[in-house]
Structure formats: C-alpha cells, structure tokens
Amino acid sequence: MIYKFICIILLAFIFTSVIHATPQSDYDYQLTQYRKHHAEFQVLKEDNQKAPTLDNQQKALQAAKQTIISRDTTKIAYIELILDSIRSQKITQDYVLQAEKDLVSAREFYISQINLAKNIISIEDLTNFTLEYLEAQLPYQSQIIKAQATRKLAILNRLQINTQNAYDGLLPSISDNTLNPVVAGLNRINQLSKSINETLQTSIQMVNDSEVSNYSKQSFFNKQIEKLFNIKNFQIELVNILVDLEQNYAN
C-alpha cells in the first residue's frame, strides 16, 4: 500500500517536473476560474434578489466569497506574471527596482485580503469587507497600473542596451569612418540615441511622479503610449542604420 502511494507520488513528481507551470499558464488558469466564479455569482445574486430565501442568500454569499478569493488569486497571478516579465529584462535601474518592490507589496496585500475574505459569514461582513477593500487597495491598484508602464519601459531599456552593444561591436569593423554615408549614419545614430534616452527618462519620470487611480489611468496610459511609440520608432530607425552600416561598410 505504502509502495503504491510512493509510486503515485513519484509519477506525479515526474510528470509535474516535465509539464512545468509558467506564470502565464497559471494566470490563464486563474483568470478562467475567476470568470467562471463571477458568472456563477451573478446568477446566484439574481436568484437571491428574485427570491430572497435563506437558502438563496447562503448560496449567493458563498458564491460572492468564492469570487472574491478567485479575483484576488488572479490579481496575484497577474502580479507574478508582470514581475517575471520585468525581472527577465535584467535592468537594475531604480525605477525598475522600485516597481518590483511595489509589486511585491501589492502581492502581500492581496494575500492578506484572501485571508480576510475567508472570514466572511454574513451579508454585513461582505459589505464591510468590500467597502474596506475598495479603499485599501487604491495604492496597490496604482502600483499595478504603473508597473504595466514600467514593464514596457524596461523592455525598451533592454532593447536600447542591446542596440548599444551591437553598435559597440560594429564600430571597430567599419573599415572607413570618413565615407560620407558612414559619417551621416553615425551622426544620425548619435542623435537617435540621445532622443531615445531623453524620451525614456521623461517616461520614467512620469511613472515616478504620477499618482494613478482607476479613473485617471486612461489619461496616464495615453501619455505613456505616445512616448513608447516615439521610442519604438527611434529604435527602428537606429537599428536600420546599424544594419545598413553592417552590410555595406563593415569588414
């Protein structure tokens, strides 16, 4: 009997190590669960409104509790996903480290809310929980919104570092730096690098200085998108010049 149990555990271990869960797959799963629980809650809430029996009330309350737990578990999974993405860029600048710290504290907050939600036993408990939650989560919600922009900036920052490395590697292999197209290309690269760095700094500053709420997030995102598009276009032009120099003037 014990050996059978050990065999099952070993098999499960082997299979789980092979089929490895990623932050993305975990998030997808949690989001599906949340949507399912939320849909169930909506139905049971409606049933309770139509026929407010004790049984219907208990069913709706349980569904509400389950939805809250599932919602915050999904938020935690999203935090893990975005944290993983930011960390994978391997940027050690302050704005990235701050975003990582903020996301960790947001994760702690949602874990604490899951534990609190488990104690809901009445409609009054549910109301009090939700009212406190709406207020208490504001700073963490802001951190998650800002972290979405930080993630984009960290990706662009990484691309800029990779472009710089490519430029440093290419420069010694250019045989004649005095040729007009080469001089023009190198000058343009310098201009673009300056513009990219300036725009990145402005965007980072904007993220650092903004206090974003759920209501103001669209305006925050719109400003960020504009800057991100500019940086992307500068980088595309810069890399195209590098490709041209590499193919036509490098040894």
Binding site: I14, H38, L61, R151, V239
Partner: protein
C-alpha cells in the same frame, strides 16, 4: 551359439543399478529438501523486494513517458525546403542584427496590458447607500 546366462553377474548388475537408483532418489530428496527449505526464504525475499522492483519499473516507464511528452511539447516543425530554393542569396534579413531588429519591431507599446481585465471589485449582495 548358445546364450550364456551368468546369473551372478546379472544379479550384481541389477543390485548395482537398484542401489544407484536409490542413491539418485536420495540425492533428489536432498535437493528437494533444500529447495523446500529455501522456498520460504525466497518467497520472503521476493515479497520484500517486489515493491522496490515495481517502483524502479514504474520510474523507468514514467521517465520514458515524461521524456516523450517533453520531446513532443518541444518539437519544432521542420518544414522541408524545396530543392530548387537558392540558399546563397544574402538578404538584409541575414544580418547579425536581425534578432534585434525583429525584437524592436515586435515591441507593442499599447497600454493597458490586454492581459489585465477589468475586475469586479464591488462584490456585494445589498445595495450601498449613497
């Protein structure tokens, strides 16, 4: 030619073969006795190590199945190139900077992150007073 029966020698031969058979029988009994003695020990040993053998077999099968699944999940589809496709033409995409250029082009500046949906943060069963 008359057949000469030597009764004495025949008796001796018979008694020798009989005693041989008796000895063989005794030897067989001895062997069987030893086997009978060893059987419970063998049975016990087998009983003791059978789960270990099963565990090892299950591990081997599990690992091979696991590897197969890993192989299948990581398998890349190799699209055969037509024989007539020229492979010596150098295109801009053959640059060492192609991966970087691709990453830059693939960057999506859109916000908010499409992965993050709007959550219902107001889960309530009674209407709130203004």
């Amino acid at each position: 030619m008359p057949i000469n029966f030597n009764i004495t020698s025949l008796k001796q031969k018979i008694s020798q073969s009989v005693s041989g058979a008796v000895q063989d029988n005794e030897k067989l009994k001895q062997i069987l006795g030893k086997v009978n003695q060893a059987l419970p020990i063998l049975r016990q040993t087998f009983k003791k190590y059978l789960p270990v053998i099963i565990t090892i077999l299950v591990l081997i099968i599990g690992l091979s199945v696991g590897k197969r699944i890993a192989f299948l999940s990581n398998q890349t589809v190799n699209i055969p190139k037509p024989a007539s496709l020229p492979t010596t033409i150098v295109k801009p995409s053959d640059s060492n900077l192609t991966p970087l250029a691709r990453s830059v082009k693939q960057f999506d500046p859109q916000l908010p992150d499409p992965l993050m949906p709007e959550f219902n943060d107001s889960i309530l069963l009674q209407e709130l007073e203004d």
